[in-house]
């Protein structure tokens, strides 16, 4: 990667990681303040308090959203640390889980369910950010052609001499082969192919699904 691009990506990662740390402190303050309100309400349990039940429900909602915020921030923090190493040994199951959590919101906006099915332990040596970007791109290609109500599964597996990530679409597809062709005809497909090629891998359309195979060379032992 050209030096400046590398520095830009590292800069994004550093600032994002720092911001997630700060957000954790914000959530910690909100949680403690919420907790204090619960404590004080518990102390005055015998005293009549208008809307007590509503307060309790509201505090429960706040706590649930705090937890949701923590999960989002943890996810963002992990992503922000992706550029820490330009090239790394990567576990494909862990990467699949990571990209699913990053992409799930985008899938939900299209009313598509997104999940991963863990496979055998598979390790590749490659660029972590670029691999995440490539996987995300494959998911986007699928999201752009499949109807609402469909599902996308990410399945790491061995395919011939390569390690593969199968991005498989499931749902009501009258002509899966047509859907696969529409993926390949998308504007971003050539860029996606180039990105995967720069990782030493390749893309294959799965006309039966439809879906996409992202193939990568196995890591040296």
């Amino acid at each position: 990667m050209p030096a400046y691009e590398k520095k830009e990506v590292e800069f994004f990662g550093k600032i994002t990681a720092g911001s997630t740390h700060e957000m954790k402190n914000v959530l910690a303050i909100i949680r403690e303040t919420c907790g204090l309100m619960e404590d004080l309400m518990a102390l005055s349990r015998e005293t009549p308090m208008p809307h007590r039940e509503k307060f309790q429900k509201a505090l429960a909602v706040i706590k649930a959203q705090i937890q949701r915020g923590v999960e989002i921030i943890d996810r963002l923090n992990r992503f922000a640390h992706s550029p820490d190493a330009e090239i790394a040994r990567i576990n494909l199951n862990e990467t699949s889980e990571q990209v699913i959590t990053l992409a799930r919101r985008f899938a939900r906006l299209k009313n598509v369910a997104l999940d991963t099915e863990p496979g055998p332990p598979l390790t590749v040596v490659t660029r972590p950010v670029r691999l995440l970007m490539a996987l995300f791109g494959c998911i986007e290609c699928c999201l752009n052609v499949i109807p609402p109500g469909s599902k996308i599964y990410l399945r790491p597996q061995i395919k011939g001499e390569t390690y593969a990530l199968h991005i498989a679409c499931e749902g009501d597809f009258p002509k899966p082969a047509d859907s696969a062709q529409r993926m390949a005809a998308a504007d971003q497909w050539p860029d996606l192919e180039r990105t995967v090629a720069s990782l030493g891998g390749s893309l294959e359309l799965d006309a039966s699904g439809p879906g996409v195979w992202l193939l990568l060379p196995k890591a040296p032992a």
């Binding site: 954790k24 402190n25 910690a28 909100i30 403690e32 303040t33 907790g35 204090l36 102390l43 992990r78």
Partner: protein, 121 residues
């Protein structure tokens, strides 16, 4: 049961104030420091059963405070609080002698359980 005296150390003033109040409601004697230097001054000046210490603070950071506590008052157990999403700070802290660590935002019941374990050990 004897009241435990705990020193809370965190530069996030609202966090440490609110946590102190919640621990006081639960029967703890709580003192507060908002930076590493004043934490060390308090530790040297008075008795504390344990310290709950944030890792990331400006100036004298949490891990440095931990090292100094272990050097000057090794009997005081320390529980670290970290805002990092990874466990690396906590693991480094335990290597330096912390009793345990919790990730923020914390669960107060979990904190109290660890505090009681720390003092019992």
């Amino acid at each position: 049961m004897t009241k435990l005296t705990v020193l809370l150390v965190d530069d996030e003033v609202e966090f440490v104030k609110t946590l102190a109040e919640r621990l006081q409601l639960r029967g703890f004697e709580v003192r507060v420091a908002v930076d590493g230097e004043s934490a060390m001054n308090q530790i040297q000046a008075g008795f504390h059963d344990l310290v709950v210490l944030d890792v990331m603070m400006p100036g004298l950071g949490g891990l440095e405070v931990l090292k100094q506590i272990k050097q000057h008052q090794p009997r005081i157990p320390v529980i670290l609080l970290t805002g990092h999403s990874s466990t690396s700070d906590g693991i480094e802290g335990m290597r330096l002698g912390a009793f345990d660590y919790l990730m923020k935002p914390i669960n107060i019941d979990e904190l109290i359980k660890k505090m009681q374990e720390a003092v019992a050990t």
